[in-house]
Subunit: 181 residues, 2 copies
Amino acid sequence: MKKFAEKTISSQEIYSGKVVHLQVDDVILPNGKQAKREIINHPGAVAIIPITKDNKIVMVEQYRKPLEKSLLEIPAGKLEPGEVPETTAIRELEEETGYTTNELSLVTSFYTSPGFANELIYIYITDQLERVDEPAEGDDDEFIEIVEVTLDEAKQYVEEERIHDSKTNYAILYLHALGMN
Amino acid sequence: MKKFAEKTISSQEIYSGKVVHLQVDDVILPNGKQAKREIINHPGAVAIIPITKDNKIVMVEQYRKPLEKSLLEIPAGKLEPGEVPETTAIRELEEETGYTTNELSLVTSFYTSPGFANELIYIYITDQLERVDEPAEGDDDEFIEIVEVTLDEAKQYVEEERIHDSKTNYAILYLHALGMN
């Protein structure tokens, strides 16, 4: 769909960091006027809803510097260049939870904030988890704690805003809609 | 929750634009090492799920420059400084759809992408819509088309990825879970 497409006149890279790549484009609007568009370029991400054999959701708690607080989230991570999302999902699952799987189902995908960022996140689910004896370690600037919760506990955490991000709120609503208990 | 809190040593503003405000912080990690955190500061946002008397969802189609395509989304907009979310919701509803309401219920709120941005979005729902005779106009760089769809049509658009963003995918799943038809 290209309705109301905006033609790029020029594009300037403002910042290229570890996660955030910011560019500002000058564009021509459908009415012929000019405007600036600020764009965060992001490699994309995956998240996994891991369900244990005793019907708990494996979640991770971590500090989120932009919010200056920690959140409880489903495991997730950024795509490496050229990586297919399933590979990222299995890698992040192992690094963050110590579990692996050979069975992933895609639940949905969505742009997290299409007004200013092109981050696309894929959400997978699995109830086929196996413990890894010596799991690969994640980034050395990531500090996480694994928490296994029932769906009722997760709903309570949503109320308390301890769970409070798009992928995890979606996941909890999805499990509710599925009739998990 | 402050688990694994990261202490800020210094904070540098990299860019301050119309939508995106980028800062890079040097922090001390829980293990005493240093790291950089790239943070998009965002004023927050609201979205509304407007349901008409004949049980359709009022949506807007607009071009999203970061994706280089248009999406069909529920109406939404950014908070102005000091504005309470309900005020933003009613303003954006009128500007984008020509409807108003005096009855909004909060569905949920979530951070769209807590790894790098502090954007918090509030999602409201209303089935009490009134037409505004001469609705206020929105930003002069916004070009939108109003589309009223059934829930079944919306689910089809999710499949086709014409609906493909966190707030709108959440809204459709929410209406499905509610048993709307």
